[in-house]
């Protein structure tokens, strides 16, 4: 029998929503597996730094309940990768807790659910040993790395690959809850295991991993992809949604530095020879993609560490004189504030940061901004970064009266700007930074993950 696997991807990420009617239509097509992502680095380092999700729990529960019901209807595996945005061990446990809550509430299954947990968080000490053993290699752009940096990470995760998800599926899982995985491995794991064309599996996975983003109706979420021994066919199931050769092929560009090559654990996808053919107005057939295995087997690492604590202030300039001279005013105010901080707080200038963002002038692009058209008001966002929250707050309080009243020159009346709320300063909490852009070489790919089977 020829290998043929139908994969249902309900959405680009759990928490983003999907069209329920489109989901029902996709379920009626009897897919062999339901796959969804739970996150990525897209939202920034805070999630990994704190081991928390960016998404509303209530929204995730509502969506996951629908997917668990779809799984129960079909009797096929349901896989979530990169659980809870960052895919830390805590977030695997968070998804397990949600899954158990839904299983208890629904109480429809006559037999317990088999849930397989795939943990991919890495121990700091173990990573230091791997670094000493020269098994951690830098990617472009090269970031500095040493034992101390690894020790300073609050969390380090490895991006698990298809092999790891296949091992999880092989436990007889009804549901796989995975920590950080590559976005694509979640989709490619089962079709690869069933003998579908490897290039087609990975290419299909890259196109489908953002759900209906590869279609003409991106917010509908639901995408179905049929993968076989020669290629794949992809289509959305929402009303008025279509895949076209252009919408599908253009998705290889998305969030990818190289539009033809995609690196994964154990190899890379090469789509330079791919051809995209419209089967009708909704379905696109793709063939000619290649999977190129490489050795040694590597997994990408992600790490986040504390970068200080922040307090922000916001003021609004509406006075035309100050709007016209906002940059000069900030420059003068900054000089003054550094003097005050040195005098009052005895802080050396390198131990804290005060960053002014002139909203309406160049807040978004900074020095690269080319537009000079002036509006009638300017927002002044002040971001203080210091070594402790107390110190960031203290600097914020020191700045507060001057942000409200500081004059452009010494010989003019004391101005008063607009503060939109009281107090003007807001403690933002810890700031985290991504600090790893590296891969870990593995003799045994499975050594990067831990698999645990539980029931609900």
């Amino acid at each position: 029998m020829k290998a043929n696997v139908r994969v249902l991807v309900p959405s680009g990420v759990l928490g983003l929503g999907f069209d329920s009617e489109a989901l029902a239509r996709a379920v009626a097509l009897k897919p062999d597996v339901i796959c969804i992502d739970g996150g990525s680095t897209d939202s920034g380092p805070y999630s990994l730094g704190t081991s928390t999700t960016k998404y509303s729990r209530a929204v995730c529960v509502r969506e996951w309940r629908q997917l668990m019901q779809a799984r129960a209807t079909l009797g096929v595996p349901l896989i979530i990768g990169s659980s809870g945005t960052c895919g830390s061990d805590d977030m695997v446990d968070w998804m397990l807790e949600i899954t158990r809550q839904i299983a208890r509430e629904s109480d429809t299954s006559d037999s317990p659910l088999n849930i397989t947990l795939l943990y991919s968080e890495q121990d700091r000490q173990a990573m230091q040993e791997q670094l000493a053993g020269q098994r951690i290699k830098a990617l472009e752009p090269v970031l500095p790395i040493d034992a101390q940096l690894l020790e300073s990470c609050s969390h380090i995760v490895a991006l698990a690959g298809a092999e790891h998800l296949q091992a999880a599926l092989n436990t007889g899982a009804d549901i796989v809850i995975a920590g950080r995985t590559t976005d694509t491995a979640v989709v490619s794991a089962l079709p690869l295991a069933r003998g579908c064309h490897p290039g087609a599996c990975w290419h299909a996975a890259k196109i489908a991993e953002c759900g209906a983003l590869c279609s003409t109706h991106p917010t509908s979420g639901v995408i179905v992809v049929d993968i076989d021994e020669e290629g794949f066919t992809i289509y959305p199931t929402a009303d008025n949604a279509h895949c076209t050769p252009h919408s599908v092929s253009a998705h290889m560009l998305y969030e990818n530095t190289d539009p033809f090559i995609l690196y994964e654990p154990g190899g890379h996808l090469d789509v330079r020879g791919a051809t995209y053919t419209a089967l009708d107005e909704t379905r696109v057939r793709v063939t000619g993609s290649r999977w190129v295995p490489t050795s040694p087997y590597t997994v990408k690492l992600e790490g986040a560490r504390l970068g200080g604590y922040q307090t922000t202030l916001l003021a609004l300039l509406r006075n035309a004189h100050y709007v016209a001279n906002a940059k000069a005013w900030v420059s003068r105010l900054q000089d003054f504030l550094h003097g005050e901080i040195s005098a009052s707080l005895s802080l050396p200038s390198g131990s804290y940061g005060i960053d002014f963002r002139l909203i309406g002038v160049d807040a978004t692009l900074g020095e690269l901004e080319t537009q000079t058209s002036a509006g009638h008001e300017v927002g002044v966002l002040v971001i203080v970064t210091a070594e402790s929250q107390d110190m960031a707050n203290e600097i914020g309080k020191l700045i507060n009266p001057f942000l409200l009243h500081y004059p452009l020159t010494d010989d003019e009346a004391l101005p008063t700007f607009a503060f939109p709320y009281s107090p003007a300063q807001t403690a933002r909490g810890p700031l985290y930074e991504f600090c790893l852009n590296h891969v870990l070489e593995l003799d045994d790919p499975m050594s990067a993950v831990r698999i645990q089977v539980v029931q609900a």
């Binding site: 380092p45 560009l253 530095t257 190289d258 970068g307 690269l368 970064t385 852009n437």
Partner: protein
């Protein structure tokens, strides 16, 4: 003529926390031919504050797309990052002149 006056759309987005990638969807074959020929990598590098050798460029005739990828000057989420998703850099490229 400015890039955006000729082509369909420009999209900018992070490709992971360390890269930004900018896709110019030209629409017509003629627009693609013009952009591919006249938009110099040097211009794009300058607009993005980058060294020319640091810009990866892909001219993709099949898609009528010209794509640029660069290292982020500050890593996503850093205290000095102004645009966490790198989505506004498209404005710098779409405003470039093609007949400069």
């Amino acid at each position: 003529m400015k890039v955006i006056e000729l082509i369909e759309s420009v999209r900018s987005k992070n490709a992971g926390p360390f890269w930004v990638t900018i896709d110019l969807f030209c629409g017509t074959e003629a627009a693609y031919a013009t952009v591919s020929k006249q938009l110099r990598t040097e211009q794009v590098a300058k607009a993005l504050g980058q060294d020319m050798n640091a810009v990866k460029r892909f001219d993709i005739a099949d898609l009528r797309v010209v794509k640029f990828s660069v290292h982020r000057p500050v890593v996503q989420g850093h205290a000095l990052d102004r645009d966490q998703h790198g989505a506004q850099w498209s404005m710098l490229v779409e405003a470039l002149d093609l007949d400069e």
